[in-house]
Subunit: 121 residues, 2 copies
């Protein structure tokens, strides 16, 4: 069978880098990614795509210009395209992210946190 299951926990053991999304699957024109991060990311937005976050381990906060939300393990959120946001995690957070294929992690902001957007594990 070419169609094989993806074990999320196993995939998470394959990398330690933070702020560096790894693609585990493609669904239509979307990539399903895993990312680990800690600390504060840059303010940014994605003009072309909504972005779904689901917390797998740990907890995170997403700041918006008009407030913030806290997400714990088992919670998800969809950040609409064009909405500025800034992820933050006090301790390392492990997240499943789904967004349009080709999306750059820092969106319109660029800068030193920009990671490759085509790394599969």
């Amino acid at each position: 069978m070419a169609i094989t299951p993806i074990n999320v926990a196993d995939k998470l053991t394959l990398f330690d880098e933070q702020w560096s999304p790894k693609i585990v699957a493609q669904m239509n024109d979307h990539h399903i990614k895993l990312v680990k991060f800690q600390g504060a990311f840059v303010w940014h937005q994605h003009e072309e795509t909504d972005e779904m976050f689901m917390v797998l381990n740990g907890g995170m906060r997403i700041y918006f210009r008009e407030g913030s939300v806290t997400l714990k393990k088992g919670e998800m959120i969809v950040v609409p395209k064009g909405v500025e946001h800034k992820p933050y995690a006090e301790d390392e957070c492990q997240v499943l992210v789904i967004e349009q294929a080709g999306t750059v992690n820092t969106g319109d902001a660029g800068g030193e946190n920009t990671a490759a957007n085509d790394v599969w594990i």
Copy 2:
């Protein structure tokens, strides 16, 4: 904040029906759904969309014409568009499904297992 977290475990307590997907979020042109099921579903395919399954609780098997795969909690799979498949679970399985908005659960097969494709919880 209009952008609110979705607690998957809480959402799963809101319905008991099997084989009846419930939408919890939209991301671009895709719906994120929860579904509970047990037993064997019909053979079907979706001509227009890949379909992502992630097991939240329990376990399932997906039969394809050339084999089958077993998925347990924490595992996901993407069934490509146009590929015939038949989900099966001995005991109740709870799954997160992502597919193009408007997708009908029975795809090209139709029949008595066909559920509404626009029910939000």
